[in-house]
Symmetry: C2
Subunit: 414 residues, 2 copies
């Protein structure tokens, strides 16, 4: 099955909004084994939309359109699609009731024009929208199909995931299973080399994606039954973890901070972080995770030497001898914050995020990280600088590194 | 002039990459007064690319293509465009020298296939690329034009801004000037109402964009000379600030944290923040700005009551009576961190970011913010909750609010 994606909205053509719907749908279809050869962006102009949707129908089996289902006159996707499929639009009282109910539940008065969203092309299938007002619509004729989805990303994704995905999988006759595996501490090119033979295979597909200093490996397996697909996927996953297990930290929709909060909560452990160059990024990323309050008791951002001394108890000697950029300073910060917070683990981070402040010995990107707990102390020097690294990248990588080290700190005690 | 944007790359159709190039170009062209009616995304397949580029040329005066200029066999944009314009590709020694120079400067060996990027269609104009290897190319024939740009966003933007923008402005015969004004504390719909008459005008265009609890107002003026455009722009800016001045906080490419660092540095002032529900976001956003170390001496993330008492000196009475979610607690945090850090301003933030923890009196989204300096103390209760607000949105808005309050705290002393 060949599918085409059309994103509708003048705001896209004006550059006010970046089209994340198209990339979501592209990835979702790829994971269903459905090919996408073309994507178009289309404004709220009826004549041009008619031309663009006709073109899409002429070269693709299925066209997924997002946007233009709103309540205003600008929203014309429903009308144009109904016309192309020769299905007159009629008022659908069931949909109207759902729309009224949506406003009642939220205690907001409904405007009359919202009932435009209750217009349905005769013969089209309604894809209920529990997450907003405009339902999705699935039009079919002579072996061609067109699915209309709202442009609001959260509604578009919800309707796709709950009303469309499974059925497309079943119509494309392919069953699939997939995994997203997260690795840290290895480069994409090294993953490429280690997994080269698996990546060369057609099924399951194995694809690494690098970003933010991490590598995700996506595994997608297709089979005649869900069980076969799942078995292919599991076998490949095992083979990947056999080779890269030491760099693996989690799977699915996760992040180092989510894994830390999960692992520490499960074991009833707490941590505290004293941050200099990362400026509170470790604390901020951890507290983004709901439930973090059980895990992180205290975070301190101490840029100045004085605060490092006064609050964390870093000794004047250490600052005078090794300086603020040293393993010793990071370790005293880690011990200091641990004792102040009374936590199981203390983390200390000090370094140079740039753009200025680098020296020959400690260029921009040099970061010292120390971890202290009752039974173990670890200290490291990292260089996160690259030719193109920005201050923000260096900070992000240093925070990720600290989180990964925290995650592994207690793992050998299990 | 009608312009069309084509984004090239199978990685786009697979959803591995979100197409930010298309939105950058859309916005840039809009600001030049050039209309974009169509955008297409195109994979690395020669037959389909030929079709899509022909279609674009048939309906638009100028086609801007980004991507597919790399050194590998997949990169075919140059070849397809040369064929469409009947301009044979020939090796250009000057470009080859620049590419070699690029690698020499970085101390990286050049691969032979990089010289594919020195192939230039006969008669095409070369748009030098100082930021990477592949130069941009500008092909013209019979009143139609096609500009090829690399797909790497930083290179695409740099070549567009430095080699293309001015000339498109001059070819479109229009001079323009623009401003981006930032407002906080007013909703987009209120801005809409207040600026309705200005927004209805054709020149200058006035467009508000909301996001992250802020509203940006973009002003773009066109004129026959740069001076006229600039004058239109300035007049409209003045009229906007006359009406919305109390909500204004900065212009251009800025943010509340950048304005705080700028304003505090200029006056030699320092601040310190004690954060509970925002989990270090204020510190983290401030320290993202280079030069923040002069301004922020200390940040503390104190989730637990114990740490609020032990480190910030919040009294047991306050915690027992008003509780941790109260103006009194926020104020004691603000005073405590100010005294601990010895800073000019102390900020205290406590509240409920959710998703759980809300009560009838203090629903999710309730945030108490206090500011303390020698001459002034302020304390507030905010409700950042909306039907759809996530934990992250509430945290972000609370941090923004605190930064804006900090920015205004000393302003009446000027």
């Amino acid at each position: 099955m060949i599918c085409e994606i059309v994103s509708v909205g003048t705001e896209l053509l004006l550059g006010d909004v970046t089209d994340t719907n198209a990339s979501f749908l592209s990835r979702a279809l790829r994971e269903l084994g459905i090919c996408v050869y073309h994507r178009q962006t289309c404004g709220d102009n009826p004549a041009r939309m008619r031309e663009q949707l006709s073109l899409a129908l002429s070269r693709s089996d299925l066209v997924i359109v997002s946007g233009g289902l709103g309540p205003t006159r600008d929203d014309i996707t429903r009308d144009v699609a109904a016309e192309l499929f020769s299905m007159p639009l009629v008022h659908n009282e069931e949909v109207a009731e759902q729309i009224r109910g949506y406003f009642v539940r939220r205690g907001i008065p409904m405007k009359e024009n919202n009932l435009r969203q209750a217009q349905v092309p005769v013969g089209a299938e309604i894809l209920q929208n529990e997450w907003g007002t405009a339902p999705g619509l699935w039009l079919r004729r002579e072996g061609k199909g067109m699915i209309l989805l709202p442009g609001v990303p959260s509604e578009m994704k919800a309707i796709f995931n709950h009303r469309v995905k499974e059925r497309l999988a079943s119509e494309s006759g392919v069953r699939f299973a997939n995994r997203i595996l997260h690795f840290y501490g290895i480069s994409e090119s090294a993953v490429d080399e280690v997994l080269g033979d698996l990546m060369a295979r057609e099924n399951p597909t194995v694809a690494p994606y690098a970003g933010n200093g991490e590598v995700e490996v996506h595994v997608t397996a297709f089979g005649e039954s869900a069980e076969t697909a799942e078995r292919f996927c599991r076998e490949t996953e095992k083979s990947i973890l056999d080779r890269l297990g030491e760099y693996y930290y989690g799977n699915g929709d996760t992040s180092p901070e989510q894994e830390v909060v999960k692992a520490f909560s499960e074991r009833g452990l707490t941590l505290a972080a004293a941050e200099s160059c990362t400026g509170g990024l470790v604390a901020q990323r951890l507290t983004r995770v709901s439930g973090a309050s059980e895990v992180i008791g205290l975070g301190v951002v101490s840029y100045s030497e004085e605060m490092k001394k006064k609050i964390l108890g870093v000794s004047a000697d250490t600052l005078a001898n090794g300086g603020v950029y040293s393993k010793a300073c990071a370790m005293e910060m880690a011990r200091g914050i641990r004792s102040l917070a009374g936590s199981d683990l203390g983390i200390g981070i000090t370094g140079i995020a740039g753009p200025s402040g680098g020296t020959k010995e400690d260029p921009v990107g040099t970061v010292y990280i120390a971890l202290a707990s009752e039974k173990k102390e670890e200290e490291y020097r990292f260089l996160f600088g690259h030719v193109k690294s920005s201050r923000e990248e260096i900070r992000f990588r240093a925070a990720t590194q600290a989180l990964i080290l925290a995650l592994r700190h207690f793992s050998d005690e299990e």
